[in-house]
Symmetry: C2
C-alpha cells in the first residue's frame, strides 16, 4: 500500500489494505482455465463472482459506439439497479460477433445463473481480449463446471481477468464509522486501449455496506471521474469496458446509504479512494510501461480545463517518450497543455519536473539537468503545472511509452 492509504474524515476513517472483491462479507469468487486463447497453461481466463445476498448494483460502460455482446447484455441486466453475480472472461472480447456473440453472452449468463441458483438477469457478463473472435462455448461450459467460488477467491478472480497486464490489481478498504465498520473491495484489469471514459478496462467493486441503487450509481460516476477517467495509456478505448459496483449490505442491518445519509460523504470518499488506487495501478502497469506518470494541474481556470490539461499531458506520446528516456524536455508538457483545449497563458505558468522548477514567468528556468535526469529515472514521475489562472485542480495518471509497447501491440493476435 502507498503512503496515502489512510484517510481520516469527519465521522470516520478509511484504511486501504491488501484484499479484493471477496474481502467484504458475503462475496465469493473463483476462477478457472478455459484455454480461451493460446496462453500459458496456468493462465486463468474464466472468473466468477457472486454475492450470498441480493445487491444494489451500478455500472459505467464504454463510450465507444461499437459495443461488445457481453456489454450489451450486461447493460440490460443492470437496468433495474440490481445484480448478484459476474461471469467474466479474458482472451476474447466477444465484440463484433453479431447475433452469435449475443447468444453466447446470454448462454454465459444462463450457465452462471444455473450454477448459482440465480436468474440470468441477476448475472453481469464481462469479456475482454481480441475483437472479432467467437467465444469457445464448449470450453467455457467445462471450465465453469469445475469452478467453485470461495471467500478466498478474490485474487484468482483478479488474475483471471488479466490480458496483457503483468500483475493483478486488487485492493480493499476498511471504513470505520460512528455506526460500525464496513468494507469495500475491488479489482481491475487494463494494460492497453486505456483512456478516459473507459478503455480496455474492467473493474469490479464490492461492498458489504447497504447502499441505495440511485446513490450507488451517482457515487460510482463521481469516483470514476476522479480515477478511471483520469487515466490514459494509449488513447484507445475498447468496446467492452465496464466498471461495476455491487453493495450487499452484509456488514449488518443499517439504513441503506443514500443522498443525505450521514455516511454518504464517507462512502463516496472510500469508493473514490479504492478507484483511485486501482487507476494508479492500472497506469503503472500500462502495456510496456516502466514508469507511472502523475500529472498534477493546479490553478486552472475551471475544473474542465484542469482535467483537459492533466489528461493531455499524461496522454502525449512525446511526454511519455521523454519520461521514458529521462529527458527533461519540458517544452512538450507546455505544448500538450497548449493543445488540450484549455485556456493557457504561458506567462502565468510554472512547471515542475519531479519537484524541480523548469519554467516560470514565461521563461525557461536554469536547473541542474543531470540531477533532473537522475530524478526522472524513478519508477514514479510527477509533473506539476501551476497555471496561475484560477482555483481548479486535477490529477491524471499515465505511463511512459517504450519499445515494449510497440512490440506487444504489433503482434497481439498472433
Amino acid at each position: 500500500m502507498n503512503e496515502s492509504s489512510d484517510v481520516g474524515l469527519p465521522g470516520g476513517a478509511i484504511s486501504l489494505f491488501d484484499g479484493g472483491v471477496t474481502s467484504p462479507l458475503g462475496f465469493l469468487a473463483g476462477a478457472a482455465r478455459a484455454a480461451i486463447r493460446d496462453s500459458p497453461a496456468d493462465k486463468l481466463d474464466l472468473a466468477l463472482l457472486c454475492s450470498l445476498e441480493p445487491c444494489s448494483a451500478a455500472a459505467l460502460f464504454t463510450t465507444n459506439r461499437v459495443r461488445g455482446a457481453s456489454l450489451l447484455l450486461s447493460q440490460r441486466h443492470l437496468a433495474g439497479g440490481r445484480a448478484r453475480a459476474v461471469i467474466a472472461n479474458s482472451g476474447c472480447a466477444n465484440a463484433s460477433t453479431g447475433e452469435r456473440g449475443l447468444a453466447d453472452a446470454e448462454e454465459m449468463a444462463r450457465l452462471a445463473a444455473e450454477k448459482l441458483s440465480l436468474t440470468p438477469q441477476e448475472v453481469v457478463v464481462a469479456s475482454t481480449g481480441v475483437i472479432g473472435w467467437f467465444l469457445p462455448m464448449d470450453r467455457i461450459r467445462s471450465a465453469l463446471a469445475a469452478l467453485h467460488p470461495t471467500r478466498e477467491g478474490g485474487l484468482d478472480f483478479a488474475r483471471a481477468i488479466m490480458t496483457t497486464d503483468t500483475v493483478p490489481k486488487s485492493v480493499a478498504a476498511s471504513v470505520s464509522t460512528n455506526g460500525g465498520r464496513y468494507l469495500l473491495g475491488g479489482c481491475a484489469k487494463g494494460s492497453g486501449m486505456i483512456h478516459p471514459q473507459m478503455a480496455t478496462m474492467l473493474a469490479f467493486l464490492t461492498t458489504d455496506a447497504a447502499v441505495q441503487p440511485d446513490f450507488l450509481r451517482e457515487s460510482l460516476r463521481r469516483a470514476a471521474d476522479e480515477s478511471f477517467n483520469m487515466m490514459t495509456i494509449d488513447g484507445d478505448t475498447s468496446p467492452d469496458d465496464m466498471v461495476l459496483v455491487m453493495a450487499n449490505g452484509a456488514a449488518g442491518p443499517a439504513e441503506p446509504i443514500g443522498a443525505g445519509h450521514p455516511g454518504a460523504v464517507l462512502f463516496q470518499a472510500a469508493l473514490t479512494h479504492v478507484c483511485t488506487h486501482l487507476a494508479r495501478e492500472l497506469a503503472r502497469d500500462g502495456e510496456g510501461a516502466s514508469k507511472l506518470i502523475e500529472v498534477r494541474v493546479e490553478g486552472a481556470a475551471d475544473e474542465t480545463d484542469a482535467r483537459r490539461v492533466a489528461r493531455a499531458v499524461a496522454g502525449s506520446l512525446l511526454v511519455k517518450t521523454a519520461v521514458y528516456g529521462c529527458d527533461p524536455n519540458w517544452g512538450r508538457v507546455l505544448t500538450a497543455a497548449g493543445y488540450s483545449g484549455a485556456q493557457v497563458r504561458e506567462e502565468t505558468c510554472r512547471l515542475y519536473l519531479q519537484g524541480v522548477r523548469v519554467f516560470a514567468d514565461g521563461l525557461p528556468q536554469p536547473f541542474d539537468e543531470a540531477a533532473v535526469r537522475e530524478a526522472l529515472a524513478s519508477h514514479e514521475v510527477t509533473i506539476k503545472l501551476e497555471m496561475g489562472l484560477g482555483p481548479a485542480t486535477a490529477t491524471a495518471w499515465g505511463c511512459d511509452l517504450t519499445e515494449e509497447y510497440v512490440r506487444i501491440n504489433s503482434s497481439y493476435t498472433t
Copy 2:
C-alpha cells in the same frame, strides 16, 4: 511521382513534377548552416526564400494555445495578406522564450529584410526544433551573411527546414489553362508532433499565378482541410506550425484569380493536389515510420463524421502498431471508428485491409490470413471502411508506430 500525379479538369490540367518552391518564376531560395544545434556538419539549418515581385500571401497557423515567437511575429506580418520572403530555421523552435524570443524573431526578420532590401514586415519567420531554447543569433547572423538565394535553391531550402525528417519533401505542379500556364511549388517538413490542425509542421507553397489575397487564404484553408489536416503522426501539435502560400503573378500579366474567376476551380484543385502530395510524403516519413497508412472512409453520414473516422483510425496507436507488425487485427479499426465521435453502426460496416474484406454484415468474414499478412508487409497500407450510412467520404494519412519512434523521442534534446 505517384500514379495520381496528373489530373485533367474542365478548363485545364494539372501535372506534378519533381521541383519545389523555386520552380515557379520569380522565386529564389537558398540555405546555410548556422549550427543551431549539435548536428552533422553538413546539416543545413537556416533557409531563405524570396520573391522578385510583391506577393499575395496567406497562412494557416497552429491551433496550439502555446505559440512560438516566430509564429506570433509572422501572424502580425501576414495580417495584410502580403509577404515577399521567408526566413526559416530548424533545430530551435524559439518557443517558450518570452520577450527575448520575440526580439530574436524580430531580428531575424530585420536581417533578412536588410539582405533582400525589403521591409521587415514583408518577411515571414518560421522556426522548428526544440522548445525552450534561445536562438544563437550570432551564428544566425554569420550564416545569413554567407547565404545567397538562387533559382536552384528550392531543394536546399527544403533540406534546411528538416528536423527528424529523413528525406526532404518537395514537389511542383504545372497547371495548363486556356489562358496559359502557371506553376506551383511546395515543400514541407514534419516527422513528429504531427496531427490534424497543424503540427510540428512547416509547409511553404509558391506560385507564379496572380491570385487575390482573400481567395488565396480561402483556397489554402480548403486545400489544408483535405491534406495537412487529414494527416496524423502522433497526435501532438507544436507551437510553431504554419503553412504559407505566396503568389507573385510572375507567370505573366493576367487578371488575378479570385472567387468566380474562370481559373478559380483549377487553381484550388492544383493547390490541393500539391498539398495532398506533401501531406502523404510527411506521413510516409513520420518519425520511425516504415509504412504509409491511407485510411479511406466511404458512406459516412456526413463529411464531419467521415473525417472523424478516417482520422481516428489513422491516429490509433493500436492500428498503427498492428500495421507495423503486419497483424490483420481489424477489430482495432472498428474500435477506433467507434470512439471517433461519429455515428457508427456495426451492421452496416464493411471493412477492407489492402482490398481484402475482413468484416461485413456485422460479422467477421473468412479471409486468407497469410495472404493479408503478406499484403500488409507493403510500404503502403490501405484501410477502407464503408460505413453504409450516407454519401460522405474522407481520406486520412498516417504511418505505423515502431520501436524507432520511441527511440527517437526518448532522447530528442540530448
